[in-house]
């Protein structure tokens, strides 16, 4: 019986003041939530003007919660929150730090209420030769800027006007324009004067 009295003494002394939070109500604000640390992985948010539509988050998403829908000249990048597990792989993969996991974790969606999607819309450029949409405008600008930063100055001049020559075409048309298969020697030959 002695341990029961020891237990009773300990319970009465230490555990009689409840550690309960008053969660749904904010009568005492600091006792509403258990804790919201700075790095909490909550609902992701995508910054509309930083995102360049490069689909890095789409490839990094292991749970296949991110979808990229290209129709017409619109590219929609959409995270379906019901499949997202808030693992922050997309935040790591994004070159532009456009997507960031906020600290909002209190998400409950009744059945008929929409809103379980985080989507941004970007306009797609269509290729001048075959008219197929191939990349977003902002992506081309960003790649050009990065190219210019990283390239060593000697080659910079030739590369930039080559780049400007091919800027308006989709990858297939670029290949068709710049290279042709010489049937005789079975080799690809550079076309001059595109």
């Amino acid at each position: 019986m002695s341990t029961e009295f020891k237990l009773l003494k300990r319970v009465l002394s230490r555990y009689s003041t409840p550690m309960t939070l008053n969660y749904p109500s904010s009568v005492v604000p600091e006792r509403k939530y258990s804790q919201i640390p700075s790095g909490l992985r909550g609902v992701p948010e995508r910054d509309r003007d930083k995102c360049i539509g490069c689909r890095a988050c789409y490839f990094a998403c292991s749970g296949r919660a991110t979808e990229v829908i290209d129709e017409g000249n619109k590219r929609v990048i959409d995270i379906f929150l019901f499949r997202c597990t808030f693992c922050a792989h997309c935040q790591e993969a994004c070159p532009e730090e456009a997507i960031k996991l906020t600290e909002r974790f209190e998400v409950a969606f009744p059945r008929d209420e929409p809103g379980a999607h985080v989507s941004t819309e970007l306009d797609l450029l269509t290729c001048e030769r075959c008219g197929r949409p191939y990349a977003t405008k902002r992506m081309l600008e960003r790649t050009y800027e990065r190219l210019m930063e990283k390239i060593d100055p000697l080659v910079k001049e030739t590369v930039s006007n080559d780049y400007r020559k091919l800027i308006g075409y989709c990858p297939d048309c670029r290949r068709a324009n710049s290279v042709a298969l010489d049937t005789h020697t079975k080799k690809y030959v550079w076309l001059e004067g595109v």
Partner: protein, 316 residues
């Protein structure tokens, strides 16, 4: 004619007061055992900004549970024997309410002055508990069968303790009507010994933690009440509230004689029942559940010495 009318009126009043007190006792059982487990339990006063949504207080939480159950659909499994399954909750409730009528409340002697009222009250209580066992037998679920077997074994032992303690008091006082026992002069030694025996028996009857094997969630789903739902389950919970009140009132009227006789003793009556509830909550918090075998052994271990002690006290 007039005092019959007063009697009827006081019976009606005591039934409602009994219900109210039973609800308060089971709320306190939940609240105190929650406070001893480092948490809050049903709120006395809901937070101010949630009042319109969740009501002002949760003191009547057991009553809300019962009323909600009355509002739910009742499912009767076709495996069960319909009539016994359907009617046993109501019979158990009527037995419990009748038992309450025979136990005096301060200021309302009710029927406690009829001769042999002690036997009637204890048999009605046993009847209420019995029918809460008969219904599940008819429900045909294996879990209920195991639960009922455990309840029967526990029933055997705790009733033995209950009857021993009651009749030792009756022999000591020399009468079988509760009203005379309640008015007889107090005898502290008798109260102590018979009280200990009756408290131990109450643990088994009320399924307080060390002895709640019939409703062990981890082992046998919900024990006897697995197949019950909706109104039937609601009446069973109501019957248990009345049994809780009845046992408390019987304990006070038999063992603390002057308290339940007249209205002036009402505050002392309430204080003593609250102390009893606190004691039960304490036992519930500190003890895990016995196996059914150990429970029987434990009961036998404490029944024999206590009853011998009772006889010694009677002789003195």
């Amino acid at each position: 004619m007039v005092n019959e009318f007063i009697l009827l009126l006081s019976m009606l009043v005591v039934v409602f007061v009994g219900l109210f007190l039973g609800v308060i006792y089971s709320f306190l059982l939940r609240k105190i055992s929650a406070r001893l487990q480092w948490r809050v339990g049903p709120l006395m006063s809901v937070y101010s900004d949630l009042r319109p949504l969740l009501g002002t207080t949760r003191v009547l939480q057991p009553l809300y549970d019962v009323m909600k159950l009355f509002g739910k659909e009742t499912i009767v499994p076709e495996v069960s024997r319909r009539r016994l399954f359907l009617y046993s909750p109501y019979i158990s409730l009527t037995f419990a309410v009748l038992a309450v009528l025979f136990i005096p409340f301060p200021g309302a002697p009710l029927l406690s002055s009829t001769p042999y009222s002690l036997i009637l009250a204890s048999y009605l209580l046993i009847g209420a508990a019995l029918f809460s066992v008969l219904g599940p037998v008819a429900s045909g679920s294996p879990w209920a069968a195991v639960g009922v077997r455990r309840e029967a074994e526990l029933f055997l032992v705790s009733e033995l303790g209950f009857v021993l303690s009651i009749f030792s008091v009756a022999i000591a006082r020399g009468s079988l009507t509760i009203w005379e026992i309640a008015n007889s002069p107090p005898r502290p030694i008798l109260t102590a010994v018979a009280g200990a025996l009756m408290l131990a028996a109450m643990l088994g009857k009320l399924h307080i933690k060390p002895f709640d094997m019939p409703e062990a969630e981890a082992e046998i789903v919900a024990g006897p009440y697995t197949e019950y739902s909706g109104r039937l389950l609601g009446t069973y919970y109501l019957a248990r509230i009345f049994i809780l009140y009845g046992l408390m009132a019987l304990f006070v009227s038999l063992l603390l004689p002057p308290l339940s006789t007249s209205i002036i003793w009402l505050p002392a009556y309430l204080v003593s029942t609250l102390v009893l509830v606190f004691l039960l909550a304490l036992i519930q918090v500190l003890n895990p559940r016995y196996r059914i075998g150990n429970a029987l052994i434990w009961y036998v271990k404490i029944l024999i010495p206590l009853s011998i002690l009772n006889i010694v006290v009677l002789v003195v």
